[in-house]
């Protein structure tokens, strides 16, 4: 086997393995098994090949080959488009939708994972060519993988808000959770069912930034979708009364969400809410703006 091929295969394997490591099939069942996985593994392999070939091409002074990297970027953007289209297409058939913001976030993560694979392969092949040691190269590749994975890890709800259960009660026909009014429920029978099956959760944001992040509609929908994916829902088509709803108290930023879970377990629901992702697109940091800081200082 030629030296080039040997080195290429090592960095290709490290890259592909890192895509396997980044693949997570959990409660979300996404990417779906087995076809979705095969698709992404193949894309991962292509990404690894591109990362592995870049440096040898440069060494061989084949500069046109390096331009392939730009092609790669284009290719990965198409992965994002593919994921977005996929998820948007199945959205209509979901009882509780993911929401556009969540879909966009998922699609972005899939694209980013492929960039990680390219970088891991690039590091591995770089180390192989400079230090000529397989062990260092493979270890180096995996270290880069772990660092990048850490960096890519987004926040979860427990990091921005305190999550506790709330009290469900009715003010006439108005469904309330603690001091937050959610919706008007006209039928007595439905009200009784809501009291029986509902579990209310209150999110108390730690600061104004968190409060503004939570107010994003996509963020609310993402929490609801994630919890329903894990805890199930007692709702069928044509039963809008049992749709989970999130409403915010604009005075203190607290958010109330009511769920009608299949598994009636308060602790588990709280855990599911706490572990929900904070969407990249929903995150706001007004405290880091000049106007926001000024308002905060004046106690606004």
């Amino acid at each position: 086997m030629s030296e080039f091929l040997y080195k290429f295969l090592i960095s290709l394997s490290v890259g592909t393995l890192s895509r396997v490591y980044l693949m997570r099939v959990d409660y979300r069942q996404y990417p779906s098994y087995p076809r979705g996985i095969i698709m992404h593994l193949t894309f991962g392999m292509i990404a690894a090949a591109l990362g592995s070939i870049a440096l040898p091409a440069l060494i061989a002074q084949d500069f046109t080959a390096v331009t392939f990297l730009t092609l790669a970027a284009e290719q990965f953007r198409s992965i994002r488009t593919m994921e977005r289209e996929n998820l948007s297409n199945i959205e209509e058939m979901e009882i509780i939708i993911r929401g556009k913001a969540y879909i966009e976030d998922i699609a972005k993560i899939f694209e980013a994972r492929n960039y990680i694979v390219v970088l891991v392969s690039l590091t591995t092949s770089g180390l192989l060519y400079t230090l000529n040691s397989e062990y260092i190269a493979v270890t180096g590749g995996f270290i880069v993988l772990i660092i990048l994975k850490r960096l890519m890890k987004g926040q979860q709800i427990w990091e921005i808000a305190n999550v506790r259960t709330g009290k469900i009660w009715f003010d006439g026909a108005f469904l309330c959770v603690d001091d937050i009014v959610l919706i008007n429920v006209g039928l007595k029978e439905k009200r009784e069912k809501i009291l029986k099956n509902g579990i209310a959760v209150i999110l108390e944001p730690f600061n104004p930034d968190a409060s503004i992040t939570l107010s994003n509609l996509g963020q609310r929908q993402a929490i609801i979708h994630d919890v329903v994916a894990q805890m199930g829902i007692k709702k069928d088509v044509g039963e809008p009364d049992f749709t989970p709803i999130a409403r915010q108290n604009t005075e203190n930023g607290n958010m109330a969400i009511i769920f009608f879970p299949y598994f009636h377990d308060e602790e588990a629901i709280l855990e599911a809410v706490r572990r929900s992702p904070v969407l990249e697109s929903a995150r706001r940091k007004p405290s880091q703006s000049r106007a926001g800081t000024k308002a905060e200082k004046r106690g606004g």
Binding site: G172, A173, N184, V185, G186, L187, K188, E189, K190, V237, G238, P240, D241, T243
Partner: protein, 64 residues
């Protein structure tokens, strides 16, 4: 692509004729409060809407 009428009153149910007059939504009159609830439930089921109570014996069905 499907077209749906959302966030509009699809139907009104009441047993008190003096409370509702005119409007674009069909009005269903009932004999008493109990029948109103049942009627509202049926209309909501048919339209996949949700029943809201105005608190004065008038129920409106809205699809969200």
């Amino acid at each position: 692509m499907s077209v749906e009428i959302k966030n509009m009153i699809l139907g009104i149910v009441t047993h008190d004729k003096s409370k509702v007059s005119g409007g674009f939504a069909p009005v269903f009159y009932s004999m008493n409060e109990e029948e109103s609830e049942r009627l509202a439930f049926v209309v909501a089921k048919i339209t996949s809407g949700m029943v809201h109570s105005l608190g004065n014996g008038v129920y409106v069905i809205v699809k969200h």
